[in-house]
């Protein structure tokens, strides 16, 4: 007791009632606790600010440098050797085709794999454990490796699709699939088991239960996974260069199987490499366009998620 009183600086309260002494001691202790939590919050805030500051710097830098070229011509013109006439139209359409094709491929495959692993797979079986470890490891494979795989498997080799936009979609699908599967599994797992039991007890089959209850309630989580996947894929350059995205395309792709396409990051990459300063300005403007396209796609996914988000 004495030690506490002295530490609490409450010598004058020694003779006072016990309750008062305790209060003084606790007062000094909670003061040091208060400092600790303040320091903790400051640390957290600092971490947030670092990420935010980097992003803001990037945007401001790109805006300042590219603002002179941020106009309608940038969106409507095709690539050109003359910087004043160069634009992004074919790259924007190429990105939409490649990413759109990726989304429609990755969603059924990723959700299907997640449903299998969560609802049907017996985790005691060795092959299911192997699958699981594999998927987790695939998430860490560098994207260039997926580009090589896409080249050997999709563009040439067994599928031999050629350098079409959909080959890019498939390559990116392979790359983001682990992310989508992991996020979808998490979402499916978070659907309360009581819903499944209630449905099964009414005589619904396993498939009906998944279709009517598990999937609708997992959509918000699956949408989050999709956002992550799209955000990663939309900025990819390396694998697309390998599977045939060309850097100078003066026409829009007319479908997923059209030969000859380019995407925004590929076009930006091309401009950054050029010696003329004007192309660097173009690249900065292109980055802004890429960010806007990404934001638009993610806003749509977020809107979708909120629409399906229901109280559980």
């Amino acid at each position: 007791m004495d030690r506490w009183r002295i530490r609490g600086g409450a010598r004058q309260a020694v003779e006072a009632a016990g309750a008062e002494t305790t209060l003084t001691v606790q007062g000094s202790r909670s003061r040091s606790e208060g400092w600790k939590s303040l320091a903790f919050i400051a640390l957290l805030l600092f971490s947030v600010l670092i990420g935010l500051a980097l992003l803001v710097t990037l945007i401001i830098d790109a805006l300042v440098e590219g603002s002179s070229r941020l106009n309608l011509d940038l969106l409507t013109n095709f690539p050109s050797g003359v910087p004043e006439r160069a634009g992004l139209q074919s790259a924007i359409f190429g990105t939409l085709w490649v990413i759109g094709g990726m989304i429609v491929t990755m969603l059924p495959v990723g959700t299907g794999a997640a449903i299998y692993l969560e609802e049907f797979a017996n985790p005691d079986r060795w092959y299911n454990r192997l699958l699981e470890v594999n998927i987790q490891n695939l998430a860490a494979v560098p994207s260039i490796v997926f580009g090589i795989l896409g080249l050997g498997l999709i563009v040439r080799g067994p599928l031999s699709l050629g350098s079409v936009a959909y080959a890019g979609s498939l390559t990116l699908t392979l790359m983001v699939l682990p992310t989508v599967i992991l996020a979808s599994r998490e979402a499916i797992r978070s659907v309360p088991p009581s819903l499944r039991q209630g449905s099964m007890a009414l005589g619904a089959t396993r498939w009906q239960t998944i279709w009517h209850h598990v999937l609708p309630n997992a959509i918000p989580g699956i949408a989050t996974g999709t956002i992550l996947a799209v955000s990663r894929a939309i900025g990819e350059t390396a694998p697309l260069l390998l599977v045939g995205a060309t850097v100078f395309v003066t026409f829009n792709p007319d479908g997923p199987l059209s030969e000859g396409y380019t995407t925004l990051p590929v076009q930006i990459f091309n401009w950054v490499q050029r010696p003329q300063d004007e192309f660097r300005v173009l690249a900065a403007a292109g980055i802004i366009v890429l960010l806007v396209v990404l934001l638009a796609m993610n806003s749509f996914a977020i809107w979708l998620r909120n629409r399906y988000q229901r109280p559980m």
Binding site: N122, P192, S194, L195, R196, Q197, G198, S199, M200, A201, L202, G203, A204, T205, Q208, H212, H213, N217, R310, P311, M312
Partner: protein
């Protein structure tokens, strides 16, 4: 009491080939189990378990359960937590199938037909034997869709509006819900949610209703309403209820089975039925000292 005037629900489930009237007769065709006693002998046996043993991961949780469930009666399973009464209840509609480690041995007869024989579709079983869970688990959909879900997935050719109204009326929820059928069911109170779950189970016109501690998450007033409902539903349905509330068993049930955990020869704690009697007699003159200890509150 049920005087044999069995009201047929609006749309009775299609009779199974062997689920006619005759096999259910508790007469000489089926040997007396010796467990069910008293007046219950006179009524039809809807369900019967024979030497049912349930194991989880090979460890028995229930062993050698033989019990008859009588038509238009409320049968209560009482016993301490973890004695296996819910596990037993889940044998009746094969809900234990959903637990990968669970294994059921023995036979569970429904109108004389073994539910666990090969070729029986558990989905078909659950259509005839409905279930209400401990915690109200309405779907996060509208009240209407909750009730309509069962008939919809079973592809029952019925007038859905009619089925929803009948089910909600049977569950004594119609007056409260009729103006908000399109509202999300999660906006209902706990007691209303549980009555909705009962309505949902009744919508498929089951024969038997299993209730797994249906009132344990409810306040006394909501509990009273559910109990009144059970007594009313007894006219048309056969009800099996698991409860850890002995007062509830005495208030609503006709028959009571006392289940307790015993150590078997391998030192496994397994549940067995100690006594199965008419409720009044089980509570007033228990035959087994273990039952007496439990119902008088000395253990459990």
């Amino acid at each position: 009491m049920s005087d044999g005037s069995m009201e047929v629900p609006v749309s009775e489930p299609a009779a199974r080939p062997s689920a006619g009237v005759q096999p259910a007769g508790a007469g000489p065709r089926q040997e007396a189990t010796g467990r069910a006693a008293g007046a219950a002998r006179d009524t039809d046996v809807v369900m019967r378990t024979e030497d049912v043993t349930v194991t989880y991961d090979g460890i028995p949780a229930l062993r050698d359960i033989t019990i008859d469930i009588h038509r238009n009666r409320i049968t209560a399973f009482i016993g301490a937590s973890g004695c296996g009464k819910s596990t037993l209840l889940r044998c009746f509609n094969r809900m234990n199938d959903l637990i990968p480690t669970a294994e059921v041995r023995g036979s569970v007869l429904y109108h004389g037909e073994d539910l666990y024989q090969p070729g029986v579709d558990p989905v078909e079983v659950r259509r005839h034997i409905g279930m209400v869970f401990q915690k109200p688990n309405p779907f996060p959909k509208s009240i209407y869709d909750n009730v309509a879900f069962g008939p919809k997935v079973l592809h029952m050719k019925v007038d859905m509006d009619e089925v929803v109204e009948r089910s909600l009326r049977q569950a004594a929820l119609w007056d409260e819900a009729k103006d908000r059928l399109k509202d999300n069911a999660l906006g209902l109170s706990g007691g209303q949610q549980q009555r909705l779950c009962i309505a949902r189970a009744l919508a498929t016109s089951p024969d038997v209703l299993l209730m797994d501690e249906p009132c344990s998450a409810l306040d006394p007033i909501a509990t009273g309403r559910i109990e009144d409902l059970m007594v009313a539903l007894r006219e048309q349905y056969t009800i099996v209820i698991v409860t850890h509330n002995m007062q509830q068993a005495t208030r609503v049930s006709d028959m009571t089975a006392f289940i307790t955990v015993e150590l078997d020869e391998h030192d496994n704690r397994t549940g067995t039925i100690i006594e199965y009697e008419e409720t009044g007699r089980l509570f007033s003159q228990p035959a087994d000292p273990r039952t007496e200890e439990y119902v008088t509150g000395r253990i459990g």
